[in-house]
Amino acid sequence: MFVLDDLLFRPFVGIVDAIHTIALDELYDVEGLEDDLKENQLLYELGERSEAEYRRRKAELEAELEIAREVHERLASGRVEVKS
């Protein structure tokens, strides 16, 4: 029965893994964060964002970007554990 269970269950595990990976991609969106950093710089240069607000937002985005890049590196190396 183990073999049968395993074969029946395997496709669903694959789908769960894939959905989880897509969710992580969206949650840790490196490209989106890079765009946000550029937009922050642009709004500052246009005078729509104060220097204090620009610096605060920049630090926030850079920290998020660092985490996002790390998550993606781990995803690529298969070191992210999927728990349900």
Binding site: E34, D35, K38, E39, L42, E45, L46, E48
Partner: protein, 207 residues
């Protein structure tokens, strides 16, 4: 500090000056191979960290090279190119000589200018009409142009233009006309920069 940090590649007479260079260096000089030269400063690593300050210094050194001797052509390197010895660097110059010569030829006497058109917050702007108007003004003057990422919803246009130094004034005037008639959008005009967007030389040698 035996490593050499490279800013760009030039042709002809070497360039040498003092200034604020990457990683605290002050001397900028040229390592030559035949008529080709790599403009460098000394650095203690081959993997420099890209801080805002050093990225700015990299750009400023390139601008200084561009303004040297009444205007020099330079093939700019992206931030972070460092070589562990003069020999390694000269090997790259030797190997990529034809590619550097072609690139130098493409950018000779030209500068890169950046134009971003940004809609005002909550403005209702016909983006296609704005892009068409900008193209009508700027494309006939520029030698080449390339589109850059539209990284913000408010960006209507983001392009880099390669412009002959002699056409610079005409380009400035065209920008001034666009700024004057801008309604619901702003024009952000930057440069001149070293022509990053118009050269495509990849250095693959061991550094």
């Amino acid at each position: 500090m035996n490593n050499r940090y490279v800013y760009g590649i030039i042709d002809g007479d070497p360039v040498e000056f003092e200034g604020e260079a990457v990683a605290g260096a002050t001397d900028v000089y040229t390592i030559s191979h035949r008529r080709l030269g790599a403009v460098v400063s000394d650095i203690d690593t081959t993997e420099p960290e890209e801080t805002d300050e050093d990225a700015k210094r990299h750009d400023e050194v390139l601008r200084e090279i561009m303004n040297h001797d009444g205007g020099r052509a330079v093939v700019p390197m992206q931030f972070g190119m460092a070589f562990e010895s003069d020999r390694a660097l000269k090997n790259v110059l030797r190997g990529a000589l034809p590619a550097f010569r072609r690139a130098l030829n493409d950018v000779e006497g030209r500068v890169e200018l950046g134009v971003k058109v940004v809609s005002e917050e909550d403005a209702d702007v016909d983006a296609d009409a704005v892009r068409e108007r900008v193209a009508d003004e700027l494309e006939p003057i520029a030698a080449q142009s390339v589109a850059n990422d539209l990284f913000s919803d408010r960006l209507l246009l983001n392009r880099s233009y390669l412009v002959d130094r002699e056409e610079r004034e005409e380009f400035d005037e065209a920008i001034a006309r666009l700024e004057e008639e801008a309604e619901g959008f702003m024009v952000r005009y930057t440069g001149p920069f070293a022509p990053y967007s118009f050269v495509d030389v990849t250095i693959g040698a061991s550094q």
